[in-house]
């Protein structure tokens, strides 16, 4: 038998989580409910979908944007704040599944699974997002780059719930680029995805972050490419350097969706195109 609880507040949810660490925490179900008729039912369901405290999208006084862990992608698509401040996330949300998945899928769900192909996860890396975790003992903030520690492995404790994602204030003039490559625009699982963000200072690349999906055992931050770009004037030569740096730091795999060679080639093209996009901006 499966117990079912839909707590009315975060405090009640945290108490239930502490009491029942073996229950599944269920939001939109787009991952956990796949082939549910062929799974053994869990001992219990802690249903946080629609819990108001976990679905808000707000801007803080310092410019940080806080998105509730259970906010569905559809709410990010209709949020003017997200469109204005986090165009990278807005663009990624638009390519998560299609309407049916966007209505239910949540950032917290993507983060909890931390699949190497979760579409929102490179965005979190590119924007230095922090995950807000809660338990009955209090709150802690973990940058996403430290949150996912391996293939679908995270630091989420058995008594913890994800409460929100905090996008810290963005540097002025941040250029944000999202690109997903899959078999079709909607409903596809990525072959490669890239979330990239950079600022230009006097024609040179200043701040730069590159997040990639489906090229490693976890959502991957391409620090080698970032190092190759920092301080450079974007152009063909720097784009080539970015390609080389990427080849030196990723070793994608063959699987049902793509091949290692194709993934490396496409990922290189994506970072090179990003550099050329910066070159247009600095011209």
């Amino acid at each position: 038998m499966t117990a079912y609880l839909r707590p009315g507040s975060v405090e009640l949810a945290l108490a239930a989580r502490a009491q029942h660490p073996d229950w599944i925490v269920l939001a939109g179900g787009t991952d956990l409910m796949v082939a549910a008729d062929k799974q053994d039912p869990p001992p219990g369901i802690l249903d946080i979908f629609g819990l108001p405290e976990l679905t808000s999208i707000e801007e803080e006084a310092d410019g940080a944007v806080i998105i509730g862990a259970a906010a569905p992608y559809a709410s990010m698509l209709t949020s003017e704040l997200v469109a204005r401040e986090l165009p990278l996330l807005h663009a990624a949300a638009r390519e998560v599944g299609a309407a049916q998945i966007q209505a239910r899928g949540t950032l917290g769900g993507n983060i909890g699974t931390s699949s190497p192909v979760g579409d929102s996860l490179p965005v979190l890396l590119a924007l230095d997002a922090e995950i807000v975790l809660g338990s009955t003992g209090g709150r802690r903030w973990v940058p996403y780059r430290d949150f996912c520690t391996g293939y679908r492995a995270t630091v989420l404790g058995p008594d913890e719930l994800m409460l929100a994602v905090r996008f810290p204030p963005r540097p002025a003039g941040l250029i944000q680029v999202w690109r997903k490559v899959g078999t079709r625009r909607a409903q596809s699982i990525s072959k490669v995805a890239m979330a990239a963000a950079a600022t230009l200072d006097d024609g040179r690349i200043a701040h730069v972050r590159i997040g990639l999906g489906a090229v490693a055992d976890r959502p991957f931050r391409a620090r080698g490419v970032e190092a190759a770009l920092a301080g450079q004037v974007p152009g063909e030569a720097v784009a080539e350097a970015a390609r080389r740096a990427l080849a030196a730091e990723i070793a994608p795999i063959d699987d049902v969706r793509s091949t290692a060679d194709y993934r490396l080639g496409v990922a290189q093209n994506l970072v090179a195109r990003f550099v050329m996009r910066l070159a247009e901006q600095s011209a």
Binding site: M1, T2, A3, Y4, R6, L26, G28, G29, T30, M33, V34, A35, A36, D37, Q39, P41, P42, I45, D47, F49, A74, G97, A98, A99, Q100, I101, A103, R104, R185, A186, Q187
Partner: protein
Amino acid sequence: MKKTTRVRVEVNGEVRVLDVQPFRRLLDVLRDELRLTGTKEGCGEGECGACTVLIDGEPVCSCLVAAGQVDGRTVTTVEGLANGELMHDVQTALIEHGGTQCGICTPGIAVCAAWAIEREPDASRERLRELLAGNICRCTGYQLIVDAVADAARRRRS
């Protein structure tokens, strides 16, 4: 210890009180308990949209919703689109334009299209395609479906 959870849910305008296994798929509750077999199962993984229903007016794959989660919600299935004998505009248009072939995808298409034209009656053809991108059809090639939905949207506007 009891094996079920009681849910109170409004389905197509009628309040139903059901004792369900909470991890059971909404799709199975609709088809097997309520005998609303208009909703079809395609992939069972949230990729094809055949099982689309509306929950509180939003399109969802009913294969991915746990039955416990619909307590207190409203659910609209393809059976709930028509007003008595009067078909919904998207149903009429799908027939008139021949926007259906084998029929498995049609209930999900009709439900999603009804949502789409309600939400964005002025949507372009391209935008309608995006709103319907979660519904896969392996027969028609989509042209006649999009023709039908665009026509239904036009009727809705006029």
